[in-house]
Amino acid sequence: MRASVLWDLAAVFAPLSLLAFGGGQSIVADIDHQALAHGWMTQAQFVDLFAISRAAPGPGALLATLVGWKAAGWVGAAVASLALFVPSSLLAYAMAALWRRFDGHPAAHAIETALAPVAAGLLAAGAVAVVRASSGSLVVWAIAGVALAIFMARPKLNPLAVLAAAGAAGALLG
């Protein structure tokens, strides 16, 4: 029984690892669906875990760790995490090695120049999507705007102070 849960976790998360284009967000709906279909948790519990994975430090993909933990304890957490992170990480390592081999090549330079603004735009779009996925209230947008202004003016500033102030502002004004 327990072994079969671990097997199920690996079978759910390993394929998703290589399907998670655009970061972790794209597979959240599928994780939700599978977690309910396997009877690992209720929808309300999934929503709780999703909220925790967003609020806690670390990448949002730690949602997989939480689902594994809910399904089969600490061993489940380890199995789900390995299944989600190892396949994509091996691919990323291989591609990083390949990419560095072409370092300095004119074609690589042309690709870098052309795609740099796409990468910058995607990063900013991800931040906009995060704000929109929240309540998206005026307060939330204002906090993001003020934080943007502060980090533009003082890039070396310790982010923790700004994040703490942002949390306090959210609690007081939200």
């Binding site: 806690a56 670390g58 990323a92 052309a114 980090f151």
Partner: protein, 187 residues
Amino acid sequence: MNLEADGRVPLRELALLFGRIGLLSFGGGLTAWVHRETVVRRPWLDDKEFLSALMLAQILPGSNVVNLTIYIGRRLRGPVGALVSVVALLVPPMALVVVIAALCASLMADATVHHALEGVAAGAAGMTLSVGVRSLRAAMGGRVWPLAVGVGVVAAIGLMRWPLVPTVAAAALAAFALAWRARTHAR
């Protein structure tokens, strides 16, 4: 910054740095943290290489910041560096997130806690936006077309929510065409 005798970044420093990012990045914004620690505060990567690595991390499947960390760890200390960096980034917050889920799942339903967490996430989004603006500025290098491409991507994906893969493919093609045109005009 301490370097080893041969000028390489010590593995210990990679472990401590990525461990710190993993544990302190409340509300997300990890890519911005990585930029701050490896480009702004340490001379490990320049903006151009960071953007190139970020592009690769975004195109490939998997968590962007995990892919980015693997690139940087590998670039600085080879396979062992990649492994040390990614384990340091993931394992401490994994343990923490489970402890949080075990102890205070019910706390998340509290309205004030919810608003505070939204505020932190908005602050982290502002931090990420600042790196996006800075990177776009670095990508422009005095040209106009990169600005058009960057703003177009933000509008299409961030605001209009067009599907990611075809939108990025179209933006990349447009960027190639514009870069090519700018190059031939410059001659």
